[in-house]
């Protein structure tokens, strides 16, 4: 393929045009059918995993069958869980170099500029295509500092005791029906361990790609931060256009030991046919820090509420949620902070943008348990509605059991008026350009701290979202 990369990305008119309609490609294993014991056993068998993991999956299956569909799940009716392929292994071996990937995978990645981003800004990358890791690259910085970054399946074999200690311990499978489903079906994803005091300079990225319709992707990310370590981890995701939908039910578990700092950034740009569940949770020990930046741009339906459990004294978190619903799509997103120790601090910021019949829902939870003296939380919800048809709802919830703690809350709603739009258009900007300028300005302050390259890719994504060619399409 000629070109590709960031330069190319700057010229395209829409993401739909970029990735086009899904093409067929060779698939080595496809498992579909009813979600029942036989299917789970089969997945476990083809993955050649230890028996404790097989049993964990079966426990999760039982829970999935027992648990009710959560009340907050709206608009899922059209998903027929029996139609979906739950495990798809593309015909591609896991490789360490971009050049060794099959052409059809490489083409997608090049169009998205991944090899170039990796070469310039990352210390490691793991890419999951359908259900399996197809590329895993670790650069010298990680090796020399003793950072462990390996596909999670490999970690199960290499460090079983270590993985057992954390896997499923941060995000319990009993949390809700789709968390249970995730554990029953999980496949693909990366395990990262940063040893104590190690500071990783360049980010690590995980990239998820769903190649066909009626597919489920259930990757699992597990990161353990040793005392006083630091890391920036970035997640990206994408898919071409399908006729029907596909289903994503991924999970992120972060364990941050004393004094460690972890930034976790997600740029979610699924195509319009993806129903997207994200289950993200961090446990933060004494004086540790986690910063979530969750940018939900694509997909048909997204549910994501990154959660920080402030377990140790002085633990802190910042949770930034950006959600864009441009078109008949739903973003049901938010953040949660659970304060379990004294002097813990959280900041939750939500910026939602809706237009063209789009709906954004913010659901937040701040819980300060008894004894979490001196803890503070600030919640800020800003909604921007770009026309008469966009809708934004916010449901912040506070449960404060400790009298010597403080929760503050601010909310704003802005609507782009006809006169403002006309003003910008009278300067020669199209409606889409005007909207993307306003949206970029609206989220400007929360993008600070993100590497410039990502800001520019994200800006481009937003610009395309509101361009005449992109977005609603």
């Amino acid at each position: 393929m000629a070109g590709g990369g960031l330069e190319e990305l700057a010229k395209i008119k829409s993401f739909d045009e970029l990735l086009g309609i899904a093409s067929t490609y060779p698939r080595e294993i496809v498992l579909r059918g009813r979600i029942e014991r036989g299917l789970i056993e089969e997945i476990s068998r083809v993955k050649k995993e230890p028996d404790w993991m097989r049993r964990l999956r079966l426990r999760a299956l039982e829970l999935f069958e027992k648990l009710p569909t959560p009340k907050w799940v709206i608009g899922l009716d059209e998903i027929d869980l029996e139609e979906i392929a739950y495990y798809v292994k593309p015909l591609a071996d896991r490789v360490e170099s971009w050049d060794d990937l099959p052409q059809w995978i490489k083409d997608y990645y090049k169009k998205l500029g991944l090899p170039e981003i990796e070469a310039r800004f990352l210390s490691g990358i793991n890419t999951v295509f359908d259900s399996e890791t197809v590329l895993h690259r670790v650069k010298e910085e990680l090796r020399s500092k003793g950072v462990v970054m390996i596909p999670l399946e490999e970690a199960l074999r290499k460090y079983p005791e270590f993985v057992k200690e954390y896997f499923g311990r941060v995000f319990p499978m009993s949390d809700h029906k789709f968390a249970a489903l995730h554990y029953a079906l999980w496949s693909g994803g990366v395990f990262v361990y940063v040893p104590p005091s190690v500071r990783v300079e360049q980010p690590i990225e995980a990239f998820f790609f769903v190649g066909s319709e009626l597919e489920g992707q259930f990757e699992h990310t597990l990161i353990v931060m040793g005392e006083g370590s630091s890391l920036h981890f970035i997640e990206g995701c994408s898919a071409p256009m399908f006729k029907k939908y596909s289903f994503h039910d991924g999970m992120v578990e972060l364990y941050v030991h004393r004094g460690a700092e972890l930034k976790f950034t997600t740029v979610q740009n699924w195509s319009r046919n993806i129903v997207n569940f994200n289950n993200k949770r961090a446990i933060i020990e004494e004086n540790g820090y986690v910063e979530w930046l969750e940018a939900s741009i694509g997909s048909k339906l997204t549910y994501t509420y990154p959660t920080s459990i402030l377990k140790g004294r002085g633990a802190r978190t910042r949770n930034i949620n950006v959600a864009i619903s441009n078109g008949p799509f739903i973003k049901d997103t938010g953040g949660k902070a659970i304060h379990l120790a004294p002097n813990t601090h959280s900041i939750l910021v939500s910026k939602s943008i809706s237009s063209n019949r789009g709906l954004t829902v913010y659901r937040g939870l701040v819980r300060i348990t008894r004894g979490a003296i001196g803890s503070t939380s600030h919640v800020q919800c800003d909604s921007l509605i770009l026309d008469n048809t966009g809708k934004a709802y916010t449901y912040p919830r506070n449960e404060v059991e400790e009298p010597e703690a403080e929760v503050t809350h601010e909310a704003t709603t802005g609507r782009l008026g006809e006169d403002q739009l006309f003003y910008l258009q009278s300067r020669g900007l199209s409606e889409g350009e005007a909207k993307s300028l306003i949206v970029l300005g609206f989220i400007r302050d929360v993008l600070q701290g993100l590497p410039l390259e990502y800001v520019s890719v994200l800006s481009k994504v937003i610009e395309l979202e509101f361009s005449e060619y992109g977005g609603v399409g």
């Binding site: 006809e418 403002q420 300067r427 020669g428 900007l429």
Partner: protein
């Protein structure tokens, strides 16, 4: 070739109220034409209509720029054809910095697709130069458009945009209202700069003060949506003395 308004009838969409009722006027290249009239006579409505505001519906008549009708065009197309409207009451646009708006509008004109890219550093120099000529504090360039701007600052910002974008025709809707004495002079000079670049200027105003500086070649008087009189600069002076009561 000029900017021509021909037998234009305009009503407010949805309300049916006619606000421009058979107007004819013309602005040539490099010409300054004044439009005066009492409050509520339809001057701003005419300006909005020329720029293509969706709330103003052209019932009949035509608006022609250099021989080409623009009635069917969107506001951005009209802008790119060289029309510019300096608003009487520019709105606040949160999220868009003034400097970014100017750069984006400029990029649109030179065909640069990355709207916020400053591919030509001269544009920054130009913006700073004209901001300083207009007495617009540089800090305002990095604030959101019109947010927290004083009345005078808004007028200066409108003028700055006109000077940078270099339109073929500008409609300036009361660029002198609410300005201090020095401000009026600065705006008058800017109008003169535009004229010297061969831009046609339709200047809507209530005051002869600015007209004394810029000396329009024609003065139109609009009352109740109609042009009721047309003359030279002396017509403005007559209105200054006698008001509009003779027309009502």
């Amino acid at each position: 070739m000029p900017l021509q308004v021909r037998d234009l009838v305009v009503r407010i969409r949805g309300l049916g109220k006619v606000v421009v009722d058979g107007v004819n006027l013309e602005v040539g290249k490099g010409e300054i034409v004044a439009l005066m009239g009492p409050n509520g006579s339809g001057k701003s409505s005419l300006a909005y209509t020329i720029m293509g505001h969706p709330r103003y519906e052209v019932v009949s008549g035509d608006i022609v720029v250099d021989g080409e009708s623009i009635v069917g065009l969107s506001p951005e197309e009209r802008s790119l054809k060289g029309l510019f409207l300096g608003f009487q009451n520019p709105v606040e646009v949160e999220g868009v910095k003034l400097s970014n708006l100017i750069i984006a509008s400029y990029n649109k004109r030179i065909g640069e697709r990355d709207l916020l890219k400053t591919s030509n550093p001269r544009i920054i120099v130009e913006i700073n130069k004209y901001a300083s000529i207009l007495g617009l504090r540089r800090e305002l360039l990095y604030r959101d458009v019109n947010v927290g701007f004083s009345g005078g600052e808004r007028k200066r910002s409108e003028m700055l945009q006109a000077l940078i974008l270099n339109p073929r025709y500008v409609i300036l809707d009361e660029p002198d209202s609410g300005l201090d004495v020095d401000g009026v002079k600065v705006i008058a000079n800017a109008i003169e700069t535009l004229r010297s670049r061969n831009t046609g200027v339709l200047l809507i105003t209530h005051y002869t003060r600015i007209l004394r500086y810029v000396k329009p070649s024609r003065v139109y008087v609009m009352v109740n949506g109609r042009i009721v009189e047309k003359g030279g600069y002396e017509l403005a002076e007559k209105i200054d003395r006698e008001g509009y009561s003779v027309y009502q």
